[in-house]
Assembly symmetry: C2
Homo-oligomer: 337 residues x 2
């Protein structure tokens, strides 16, 4: 047990060899005990466990994983932490990963594919058990690395397109289409759209495309639109709707890129005394908790975020059949349409 001067962040250094020696057994026996693998006599097991306890032995995963080639880390790249939906997703991922003795290494791309590529390379250097990414859109470089690595890969959140390996999610196009059909069915015809920056959030774009395509089925289209420059937020939604209405185009319903945005729109209506849904109907996306409990629950589409995370984790651990799992979504009929 060599306890000499050592750089900060380094450990006293009780090694497996120390434990084995203290227990009076060989290294491999100690290793077997500590990992519950292979057969060991009750006697050895007890001795090793006692020694480990006494020496406060802390295994070194760097060494362990290097020796066994492969780690119990799972790399996860999400576009943002600011948008509530990704923590929800992470939460699901994390839960099943931890339950299976794996650990999440999380990286945030800020919606930049170039950043994502760098993060992927960085994560692969840990020889992770697998990688979980959000979306299907990656740089060519990233795709090449991923293919070359042979790592198990799961792409989540989007089923509109082709993936590299495994996919779990739902169709954003169809979600948009469902929103459109709902509004059309309710008789709305002068429909506006308030969205957040198109930069990066490809899935919001896909929803809007699906939305317009479905409107087109009945010869309709959005009559006005307002796209913010920043990320999705309550404030952006509030201001977006204010600007949309200021355009002068008559509008009887508004589709928002997200529930945050829609809640902002709702707040605008409350402030201005605009009657919802009589004067203006509002439709969001995601089914966020806060919007479901507004005085008038927001009509929205609930997306299976946590569930998606759980399935993604199970897929990455090889516990799930199928290369593509579409979890669908659900219309939440609220009081705003």
């Amino acid at each position: 047990m060599s306890d000499t001067k050592r750089p900060p962040g380094t450990f006293p250094g009780v090694t497996l060899a120390d434990v084995a020696r203290a227990a009076g057994v060989g290294e491999s026996t100690a290793s077997r005990v500590l990992r519950n693998r292979g057969s060991v006599s009750e006697r050895s097991r007890a001795k090793v466990e006692a020694a480990a306890e006494r020496l406060a032995y802390l295994p070194n995963r760097l060494a362990g994983n290097l020796a066994s080639t492969g780690s119990n880390l799972v790399g996860i790249v999400i576009p943002s932490l600011a948008n509530v939906v990704f923590p929800d997703f992470l939460s699901g991922v994390n839960q099943v990963l931890e339950a299976n003795g794996h650990q999440s290494v999380i990286a945030v791309s800020e919606y930049s594919p170039r950043r994502e590529e760098a993060l992927i390379a960085s994560l692969l250097a840990w020889r992770p058990a697998g990688l979980i990414l959000v979306g299907l859109d990656h740089t060519e470089g990233a795709k090449a690395r991923l293919r070359a690595s042979g790592t198990r890969l799961v792409e989540a959140y989007d089923t509109d397109g082709v993936g590299l390996d495994r996919i779990v999610g739902f169709s954003n196009r169809n979600a948009g289409a469902m929103a459109a059909r709902h509004l059309v069915t309710r008789g709305y015809t002068r429909i506006g759209y308030v969205g957040h920056s198109i930069h990066g959030d490809i899935r919001a774009v896909k929803r809007f495309e699906g939305f317009r395509a479905a409107l087109a089925e009945t010869e309709l289209d959005v009559v006005a639109r307002e796209i913010g420059t920043g990320t999705s937020s309550v404030e952006a939604g509030r201001e977006g709707l204010a600007r949309l209405l200021a355009q002068g185009t008559e509008v009887d319903a508004c589709y928002f890129s997200n529930d945050d945005m829609a809640l902002g729109g709702y707040f605008h209506c409350l402030s201005r005394g605009i009657e919802v849904p009589n004067q203006l109907a509002l439709f969001g996306h995601n089914g966020l908790e806060m919007a479901r409990h507004a005085p008038q629950p927001l009509t929205s589409i609930r997306t299976p975020r946590a569930k998606m995370g759980e399935v993604a984790a199970r897929m990455v651990l090889g516990q799930e059949q199928g290369r593509m799992i579409d979890l669908g979504f659900e219309l939440l009929e609220g009081g705003t349409t």
Copy 2:
């Protein structure tokens, strides 16, 4: 370049030795080039870089860190991902960590100290460059391990108590006190409290204690309280306030454990036609974006969540002086008081 049959999740295995051989230099030279350390001739550098590129060499951090004893991983344990405030915090942490070539390994304790202890042990096995925890309350076992490990440690979010190593945060007691004084100054005297489950969320408890202590300065106390059983949410706040008012005790102001809760309360008032703040004043905590943009901006206290994450990360990297940094908080005077 040994490309034999290998277990799934394993790599083609281009090693540093392969690169060195291809470049016609020694391993150590190749290593020096790839890490920009030590002096290398332009010629060797070029050869090595070309070879690495050609072979699509991907360094193995498991090996690298094992050899150099110590990793560039930083372990982070947060209580929950469901509560928006922690992603905000993480976001700050992650930003400076990534900018400094470090990676976040994130674990979620679900507000359980026992779980936290297990997660800490698990994280320490990676010989992380440092650890970031939320709060000052840990099991004795966890504290012992942390001290023994010698790892640099930062405890965030709470300055009301003693820490193990470095601390960054604010005083939750004082935040509660500020809320109380604000309400008292405005002339409210019949004050209620709606909180979420006390289990685990020690900081919410500290706020409430500070709140009551400050009320006591003027011989006041909360006249009614309602504590939910689950986590903080809009729904819990809405129902909590409904129950509080149903108690029958006359109340002219209500303090909530969180902005989610307070927004729920606000929604309840809107639904029931309770005039805010005339009939009932509302005070939250955290200064969440969504609450700031309600028709009547919620009076609240803005907490420096992202900033706290940044400072925590800098502290863990040893880039910050001082063992204890109090970032304070800020009163947000809204329209609900």
